[in-house]
Subunit: 377 residues, 2 copies
């Protein structure tokens, strides 16, 4: 395949697509995007931008027809259309059957079990009322099989009294894990099967919204834990035989055990800091994987922290930024705005990465940045 | 000034403009470009792209009218139009009078002399024949006052016999300097006068074409030489009172003296490695300067080398790349292609930056890259 003659299509044109475009520009690659939102972050910067549903068979099929290579920046896409495109000779990475597996948390959990991948105990349930049959399993999280994303599709069921809060639809009950840290490993595999894992990062989540609030790279864990987490991520991508970037979110338990929480077959919020903090960004790494180039060096250049910029509570409308200049006055801070025209509470509007060779100073800077930058309307 | 409401226009839409766009995307800034070449690197990725002469008063004036801020990526532009725009309230950085000064090597040299900035001895001449009056000054370089760029406009006059090779037009004779290294310092100054210099880099030029062939960052010089070079660059930008990035090329002589060779009031080939090798890239730094943000951290993250990708001799036509995948298989290598559709011998078609914590390995990698990557047709 001649890289510079390859027509690349991407399902989704949001912030992840935007950062893929930013990574593709220095290579003079053209990325064509499909997104339902005519004002999505990529709409002005993609080589071409098609407005349409990612879940509709005809839309996805017609978009993919005539492309050489299709990839995704969101996993809720029509995999039947992708399978047909693949059968007709279009390369689709990650492969459609892997996207389908990951779209459904029930299938994901079964995959872990079948392949001896450590994960929290779970019970499949068909509807919320089934929880009553498993009261001995509580406290637990109820997770819907499909459509969960950025904290949606998850309910915390502590006792029988919480069953009224349970969500409708097939899903699973997952045992509540007592963890000390939430970790993530970004791992890549190219077409030829070369695999490379990034150093482990650790995440701090928003206490209510289940969104990453801070991320620190590298994680402050033992060398043994680091190796265990990386080997686990490598095992998953190898078992899947997947091409592209895979994000593996994990729990580190009080006993030093590592359990897989969720995986995402795409560039991921827990890899944004690789743009500034690592030799190769996850975005370039994904392009390397799908174009069958050798994986780039994943090393950390300098410790980094990533802070998501979320829409402020109480604001809904045309976007305004506060604290832009103040954040950029902090040494080592880089701002990424996603170019969304409208803000709403907790919408992901951008992120900041800050680097510092001193980890204590890094944490202080991250907190200061969080206080300084606001998206209002 | 509200940064996100600022309409920014750039004179020139070549590779430097392209890398400015790449730096502006994460900030969600829109850059509007003017360039005479309808196929220039920025033509598809600028917020708007106007085709027209940079030297024509009306074209530049009409382009600048309605913008809030104008900057340049090439210095051969109509400064009269820029002065009129400035008088009408458009911010122009670098300031028109500085662009005019730097457009003419004769004025540049006089500026050094008047401000006690060390530079090679010189004599102003009005035409080639004047050289005969200064035979005692040879060996020397004849430099035309205007229109010199990328090695053009310079003739080496060793003895009286070379006068036939001299160029027509007013210029200067510059004493040949016995130097051990060619250095460059990128320095920035924002609107408020905050100045920051990057660590010194050293350049190796193509033996015939006077184009940078390799660049190494940081330069292998003493701490005293490093400080002297940085202070000199800071003195120049402060004396000029310029806003924006200034590249200061220097000679390190056998006696440890530092002489200023040339300055360029814009992002520069000798700062490309800052994208991967330093905390803040020169491109983001220029945006910081003209938007009056605090200068970013200029520190080296990791030693880097930069290799220009020049069109191969013997090829003239639609571009093809050789060695793309092979270069990307070298750890720490990043390719930047400028997206020019047509190659010709020695045309700047792209560059590669490679990083390595070990300086010897870095040099070996740079040589290997130089051999691997070719632009043919």
């Amino acid at each position: 395949m001649n890289i510079h003659g390859t027509k690349i299509g991407i399902l989704g044109g949001g912030q992840l697509g935007k950062m893929l475009i930013e990574a593709a520009l220095p290579w003079d690659l053209e990325l064509h995007m499909l997104d339902p939102d005519a004002q999505a972050p990529c709409h002005k910067i993609a080589a071409s931008f098609t407005v349409g549903s990612l879940k509709d068979f005809d839309t996805v099929y017609n978009f993919g027809k005539g492309k050489d290579l299709i990839t995704i920046e969101i996993e809720n896409v029509n995999t039947v259309a992708l399978e047909k495109l693949q059968a007709e000779g279009v390369k689709v990475y990650p492969q459609p059957e892997i996207i389908r597996l990951i779209q459904d948390k029930r299938l994901q959990k079964k995959f872990y079990k079948e392949n001896n991948i450590p994960t929290a105990d779970f019970i499949l349930i068909e509807e919320a009322e089934d929880i009553r049959k498993h009261l001995e399993f509580l406290p637990a999280f109820q997770k819907l099989g499909r459509e969960g994303y950025d904290g949606r599709g998850v309910a915390r069921i502590q006792t029988e009294n919480d069953i009224g809060k349970a969500l409708a639809g097939p899903g699973l009950l997952e045992k509540q894990v007592n963890y000390t840290k939430e970790l993530s490993v970004i791992v890549t595999r190219n077409q030829s099967g070369s695999i490379a894992a990034y150093p482990v990062v650790e995440m701090a989540f928003h206490p209510e919204k289940n969104l990453v609030e801070y991320l620190f790279s590298p994680a402050d864990i033992s060398r043994g834990e680091e190796e265990k987490a990386k080997r686990l991520a490598e095992k998953i991508i190898e078992t899947l035989g997947m091409t592209g970037i895979l994000a593996v979110e994990m729990f580190l338990t009080e006993d030093g055990e590592i359990l897989v929480n969720e995986i995402a077959p795409r560039v991921h919020n827990s890899g944004h800091q690789t743009i500034e903090g690592n030799v190769t960004s996850q975005f370039q790494q994904h392009l390397r994987a799908i174009l069958n180039l050798k994986p780039g060096d994943t090393s950390v250049l300098i410790p980094s922290a990533m802070i998501n910029i979320l829409g402020e509570e109480g604001f809904d409308g045309p976007v305004k930024y506060q604290g832009f200049a103040e954040v950029l006055a902090i040494e080592g801070a880089s701002i990424h705005l996603y170019g969304k025209k409208v803000t709403k509470p907790y919408r992901k509007m951008g992120h900041v990465t800050v680097v510092d060779s001193n980890k204590e100073r890094l944490k202080e800077k991250a907190k200061r940045i969080k206080e300084l930058i606001k998206v209002i309307s």
